[in-house]
Amino acid sequence: MARPYPRERSNAWFLERWPYRVFVLRELSALFLALYMGVLLVLAARVHEGSSAFRDYVDALQSPLYLAFHAVALLFALLHSVTWFQAVPKGLPLRRGEQRVAPALLIGANYVAMLALTVLVLVVVLS
């Protein structure tokens, strides 16, 4: 009699193909964003404590360990933005009549918004 071979599960599925690896990195990116938020919060707390506390913290941030962390966090932040921008049209299928608004347009709009916000922040910081 027939004896089907049971379906296989792999505990290392996320290593098996590139799309899965990228997925796991995308999920992981949230962790780095959270850690970076922590850094920002501490920074805000130090500002509140006074200028010397702030300066001490800024000095500490210049340690190689922190710099490395920032570099990694930046890469993950970029990955996070790129992957989620890429995903926007999936959750938001805008239509004009029969025609779907081109996914590239939706994704592009997000990049434009990000760029505008970045410029705005830079202007505020530098002024």
Partner: protein, 253 residues
């Protein structure tokens, strides 16, 4: 578009064989078949079955990418073998295995029972409070209303998306990409009024909320149904629905 014909005269296939009456587990067997520029993997399998080994079992029928029978793993990626050209895998070998994430009936044939059960569970038919008599003709549906669900109606049930879905691999209960897209197909059809009946199952933990949005289902879909998109949209609708019900006491009914 078409590459220059290759000099290859044969190509090697590594095929997963599982004969339930004699094999403990699937084993790879190697076969050399003629290489032809215009052949797809399915042509090579047919050659093999007709001329070399009549015992190989696999499903196929239309050989034009519409019946959904011939999904397999080709070099580890879910593919319709009638649309996977040998020339894209030169110089070989090409590994052909049954679709991942399903039990194996035999050789390249998988067990569909779980899929078929879930398929029926989402009530994939038009549900209405009342029928308009046929004499009054068709229900009106504008091209825009049609466009709202058309993409989700293009699914050929080939199940490649299940073979690509790690959530389905690990969660037995997960309804899976094609079935959720199918529910969305009916929920978005202007003629249908059954959203409420499907809601409980679709919005449950074995429905859309099991999905972690890996997105590979849409990447492997041969018909661009975009089940990942369907699920994300359903999540948005479910969230909006939840807020609505939450705010209902203060709303205007």
């Amino acid at each position: 578009m078409t590459q220059a014909p290759s000099d290859a005269t044969t190509i090697r296939l590594e095929i997963a064989r599982y004969r339930p009456e004699q094999d403990e587990r699937p084993v790879l067997e190697r076969y050399d078949v003629p290489y032809r520029h215009e052949w797809v993997v399915l042509d090579a399998l047919n050659y093999l079955k007709d001329h070399i080994d009549g015992t190989l079992s696999y499903r196929w029928s239309c050989r034009m990418g519409i019946c959904g029978s011939c999904g397999m793993m080709v070099n580890g990626v879910p593919k319709l073998t009638c649309s996977a050209f040998l020339r894209d895998y030169l110089p070989g070998p090409i590994r052909v295995e049954p679709m991942a994430n399903f039990p194996v009936e035999r050789d390249l044939v998988t067990v569909l029972d779980d899929f078929m059960e879930k398929f029926q569970a989402v009530k994939p038919w038009i549900i209405r409070d009342g029928e308009q008599p046929l004499e009054e003709g068709e229900y009106r549906q504008t091209p825009a209303q049609l466009a709202d669900f058309k993409q989700f109606s293009m699914c050929i049930n080939c199940m490649l998306c299940y073979a690509a879905c790690p959530v389905y691999q690990h969660e037995d209960e997960f309804l899976g990409p094609a079935v959720l897209a199918l529910a969305q197909r009916y929920n978005h059809d202007s003629r249908d009024q059954g959203k409420g009946e499907r809601q409980e199952l679709i919005w449950s933990d074995e429905g859309i909320w099991d999905c972690t949005f890996v997105g590979e289902c849409s990447a492997v879909c041969p018909k661009h149904v975009d089940p990942a998109g369907a699920i994300q949209q359903a999540k948005v609708e479910s969230t909006v629905g939840w807020y609505r019900s939450f705010l209902a006491p203060f709303g205007r009914g």
